[in-house]
């Protein structure tokens, strides 16, 4: 019962304008950075390594390589600080957490393009758009 009440409280704060993000996707995350009065937007591009938690507390972790050094950043999915997320590529991930990418170097780091379950992705996107309206 209490979970239902909490889900209801969260409902109005959930974002429906973001695209459906899957583990393995290459994404551009546009983050609002507020410095005093001014705010600007910074883009963080990389592979979605994992998604955690659920509801309003859902987060996703993006990994990219900066100056030959792996950098991982975790974003709260429903934070207003995220301006938008662009999906660059849908990667084929066979597990929920792509920790093995941390040990990969060079070309092996890349994931194959997603071919399986594309209908499911399309369905989820349609559902998301319906929810946004």
């Amino acid at each position: 019962m209490s979970d239902a009440i909490i889900a209801d409280v969260q409902k109005s704060h959930l974002r429906t304008d973001l695209p459906v993000i899957h583990v393995g996707d290459t994404v551009d995350v546009h983050v609002k950075i507020i410095e005093g009065e001014k705010s600007r937007i910074q883009v963080f591009q990389g592979v979605v390594l994992k998604k955690q938690n659920g509801g309003l507390e859902e987060t996703f972790t993006v990994r990219r390589i900066v100056a030959n050094e792996g950098v991982e950043r975790t974003f709260p999915m429903h934070s207003p600080r995220i301006d938008k997320v662009d999906i660059i590529r849908r990667g084929d991930a066979r597990r929920a957490k792509l920790y093995y990418l941390r040990d990969r170097v060079g070309k092996k780091r890349r994931l194959r393009d997603r071919r399986r379950g594309l209908e499911t992705v399309a369905k989820q996107e349609a559902a998301q758009q319906a929810a946004a309206k």
Binding site: S2, D3, I5, I6, D8, V9, Q10, H13, K32, I34, G55, L56, E57, P76, H78, S79, P80, R81
Partner: protein, 226 residues
């Protein structure tokens, strides 16, 4: 009167404010409460109202309590708490009157009183924050013990340690008041009260929420600005 209401803790979640900050929030199922008794200076020597909260089946109540509630014209309730009023303050209330979260619509800060989670029998380190003994240097089997509880002179004549010496014992499951918590919002339809930060007790625990009685300077300013 200081505004007050009874409720049950639902649990915690988070909310994002206008700046995009992450605000931790406790959700409280607050009320609706009913006035089950009005006490006045003539009849009881002081002014107060008794709030009753949460319906229960009559067979789970007792005849005296059913009668007490029926006198105010309300169904049997599970919890009752008294709210003390200023002299003459009881005139504004009548038995059977409903009090719900709407009374908290313009409240900025609140105090929450609840019963903390029971921790069972705990040692002095957890219970009183003692430092314990060293991990080595000859300490054997006494790493978490309290140390000395007084020598011959302090215990002279009694043969017992002084009263009030802090030792291990039962911890938690006691009344705790958390003061000056920010009220984030209310939900009139669902009788929900959103309070910033944690409050005492387990989920489903009974809470007494009242308008903050004393505020720090900074918070008082915010509350006054409305």
């Amino acid at each position: 009167m200081s505004k007050a209401i009874l409720g049950r803790k639902v649990g915690m979640t988070r909310i994002y404010d206008e700046q995009g900050n992450n605000v931790p929030v406790t959700v409280v199922q607050a009320g609706p409460c009913f006035v089950s008794q009005v006490k006045t200076a003539e009849t009881d020597g002081y002014d107060a109202v008794q709030l009753a909260f949460e319906d229960l089946k009559a067979r789970h109540s007792t005849y005296p309590l059913i009668g007490h509630d029926a006198k105010a014209g309300i169904a049997p309730k599970r919890f009752r708490r008294e709210v003390r009023l200023e002299d003459g303050g009881a005139a504004a209330y009548e038995a059977g009157q409903e009090i719900n979260v709407e009374s908290f619509a313009d409240v900025k800060f609140c105090d929450v009183i609840g019963t903390s989670k029971g921790k069972g029998f705990q040692g002095p380190m957890k219970r009183h924050g003692f430092a314990g003994q060293e991990a080595s240097h000859g300490v054997e089997r006494k790493h978490r013990s309290p140390g000395s509880i007084g020598g011959r002179s302090s215990n002279l004549g009694t043969g017992k340690p002084k009263k009030g010496i802090r030792m291990g014992g039962h911890m938690g499951a006691e009344q705790v008041t958390v003061r000056s918590l920010k009220v984030i919002g209310i939900d009139k339809d669902k009788n929900l009260l959103l309070i910033q930060g944690p409050v005492p007790g387990p989920k489903q625990g009974l809470l007494y929420v009242r308008e903050a009685t004393r505020l720090y300077k900074g918070k008082a300013k915010i509350a006054k600005a409305g």
